[in-house]
Amino acid sequence: MSQATQTETTEGTGRIDSVSGPVVTAVDLDARMNDVVYVGDEGLMGEVIEIEGDVTTIQVYEETSGLGPGEPVENTGEPLTVDLGPGMLDAIYDGVQRPLDVLESKMDSAFLDRGVDAPGIDLDEKWEFSPTVEAGDTVEPADIVGTVPETVTIEHKVMVPPDFEGGVVESTKEGNFTVTDPVVTLENGEEVTMRQEWPVRQKRPASNKRTPRTPLVSGQRVLDGLFPIAKGGTAAIPGPFGSGKTVTQHSLAKFADADIIIYVGCGERGNEMTEVIEDFPELEDPKNGNPLMARTSLIANTSNMPVAARESCVYTGITIAEYYRDMGYDVALMADSTSRWAEAMREISSRLEEMPGEEGYPAYLAARLAQFYERAGYFENVNGTEGSVSVIGAVSPPGGDFSEPVTQNTLRIVKTFWALDADLAERRHFPSINWDESYSLYRDQLDPWFKENVAEDWPERRQWAVDTLDEESELQEIVQLVGEDALPEDQRLVLEVARYLREGYLQQNAFNPTDMYCPPEETYAILRTIQVYNDEAFDALDAGVPIEDITDIDAAPRLNRIATQEDWESYVEDLREEIREQLRSLY
């Protein structure tokens, strides 16, 4: 059920039997699993999560203080759905798709009150519809029948709902309409509007899932360079508190080259959502210079908002993502944090007194996580377009210990693992992605793209970086015991080069206006320049130049400054030249 349809709530009225936090039981309620119900005199929104004999258990999406036995419960007879249509971009929703700006004005307060409903998309706003079919054409479910300029960036495609029969178009309209006005009428009497509903817990149909072969370019060197994710891929970012999950998710939301971004703030901080709301309208989309909000939809169910709505917020997000995928767009969804979602499941499960599994999580934790990530992918859509949903989930393991159930179950599913490291974070090595532990299983299938679009030798350069960093960690173990000066000169040089890799290449400051976004060409150029230094320095060493003189050249420290240069191309060129000159002048 979505708030837009004011379905008569007469299917079966029951009454509250007990209240315990967000979980309420009702008796005499005629309901099916997952039906949306209105609970109590204030009509708080809830969802049926268990039926046992005459007792129906409901999770309530709003605060339940003061709710008591005997109060009525009304069933809408419909499952939890979202409203799909123009207006979802540049919007901010709570976990059950109520627009937070509308709630603010309806409640006339900065604090969230209860029992206030608002449809996910504005029912009165008019949108300019242009048909792409004409009378006499035959359309099938999911086919695109027209377009709407939704934002400066995105053309919204109006589609025949999947549950329609389809057939011959009788008439089309053109001009400004509300989302409930019919814009295309079929001969069988079916009327297509700009709005659809879809139950959030059910994935939208697609024809085919394909192997993803295009990277979701993130503008983050360590990701694009070492651990790339594909468009349609899945990734997890686990890490202890303060290690950089949110900053990385924000950077992806800003700079990833997807068409659409769905950002789900699931049980995290209010200020982090505010930051997005304040920053995104002012930041430019690196693809086209438009405001970033024009491609973004936000779902904010912060830690202090009701737990049940936290449980549903990831589903709300992924359903919206699938809808844009159906239009043929590449969508990227960030969920921060999936652990809070899992905890919401755990909290509700324990109120239901279900048999707890590992660490109190319900036994179905793994299945729910898998179902969610399965909704990602590179798809051939029912209407013949191709689109993708990439999912990047933050994981917040208690005590930063990755052996816990949410991290472990997630790692079983996702193909990219960006392991954040408390030690690196404490040294302010950001993003604190541990290069030993992290991996991307997409690396090989994305190499052809990087070779074709960035540099033919992309994979070899990367391998060199990986090898150098590996060698560094081995050498570091020795250094810990005997000190660096005890190493032979060539090994000391490796350490020096690896340091530039870490500081000039892997580290990236998300708050520096230039450094925060690094196109893959620049990522490549930085790596290449460090390698130039490496090669020249080893030549000098072979020619007998003492290591101190080599590492002392004043061009070398500038390797760490490439990333903050606006004109990096000429900087890199000069720098390579200077490195050569300075080193060769030593012998």
């Binding site: 315990s20 202890p240 209010g270 830690s303």
Partner: protein, 478 residues
Amino acid sequence: MKEYKTITEVSGPLVYAEVDEPIGYDEMVEIETPSGDTKRGQILESEDGLVAIQVFEGTTGIDRNASVRFLGETLKMPVTEDLLGRVLDGSGQPIDGGPEIVPDERQDIVGAAINPYSREYPEEFIQTGVSGIDGMNTLVRGQKLPIFSSSGLPHNELALQVARQATVPEEAAEEGDEASEFAVIFGAMGITQEEANEFMEDFERTGALERSVVFMNLADDPAVERTVTPRMALTTAEYLAFEKDYHVLVILTDMTNYCEALREIGAAREEVPGRRGYPGYMYTDLAQLYERAGRIKGEEGSVTQLPILTMPGDDETHPIPDLTGYITEGQIMMDNALNSKGIEPPINVSGSLSRLMDDGIGEGLTRADHADVKDQLFAAYAEGKDLRDLVNIVGREALSELDNKYLDFADRFEDEFVDQGFDTERSIDETIEIGWDLLSMIPKAELNRIDEEMIEEHYREETPAADDEESAEELSAD
């Protein structure tokens, strides 16, 4: 109001009673014991015919003959501007012998969540006068920044120093010091009488009490009451901030005692425990406290939180600091080793973090070179600390000249930058200048986190070394 004598079970802090009318979840209850004591409680679970009540003042003295009254409303805090200057107990009753409090409003202590859309991003720099905070882990107005400490460390001294010194320099310049001062809400949960005295004496000595509201739940006060104390405090803070335009600083101490109380209630209810016996919902519960900080669009006032917690077993991964860290916007980490060295305040700056720092500093806010200097100080200090381990094994002689400089840097950083004493107040300018003094020990080329122009402007070309007369002369001739 109907009275029930229907108590069926008393278990730990919980009382179960039968009822014949619907009772609302979370609503207030009064229980009168046969000896005439009145205790207050709250509905934890409401079923048709049966309720579970959590009693704040402990269940001692309650038996089947006690009478139960249901007040039909959730717990409220009577709020008024006149609360400033008052001392209350852990459930909001005055204990200072002052006049009766005439409330302006009675507000639900379970505050409603701030609509994320209505928030304003916090970015006004608060000068605490403490270099380890201002320079390295800057606090901004509307932030929640806990102090992670251990028993025996001077976290109270630090909290008091911050409460005393905190100003917003920008406003102080425009409107005078008074205008930029904070109203302080102090919520004590399970602290000792001695600690309480320490705070009260400081408040009285500095005259801070006038702009403070004190809530005291002491170690021998009922544990369950601790679950309402911070909510009372935060309700008062929100009222003063968002209805009376105050900038409020809330100090909550000790959050560890609060969490112990939660655990106790969970155990009494025979709930399935989460990690190390704490309730599975502790994250959500703590978030409902910590998220009551911030700024709101169109409102003058703000709520800044400085909760204090002592880490059991000095373990940062213990659920209390761990869940707190996952909710708050950074943490100030106190350190045993630094404390033993006599560093005051013993702040471990690298283990500390302020997540709202990046937007709160820089040109126009603090100084243009602040961010770069901070990054470089962090890097150099980390380098120096790493070398300390090594030097223990191989000795100083085996290290290069540069490494030795980093070692000296780390020592001086602790002695000169962090160690300032609890009575010294430093402006942000002083703090950053000390930063430059120290960074100038390191060769310029190493300062790769700082913009080259800034290095030109601030780097001290010659650092006077005490035993080197020549360079000292050069400097004075300069």
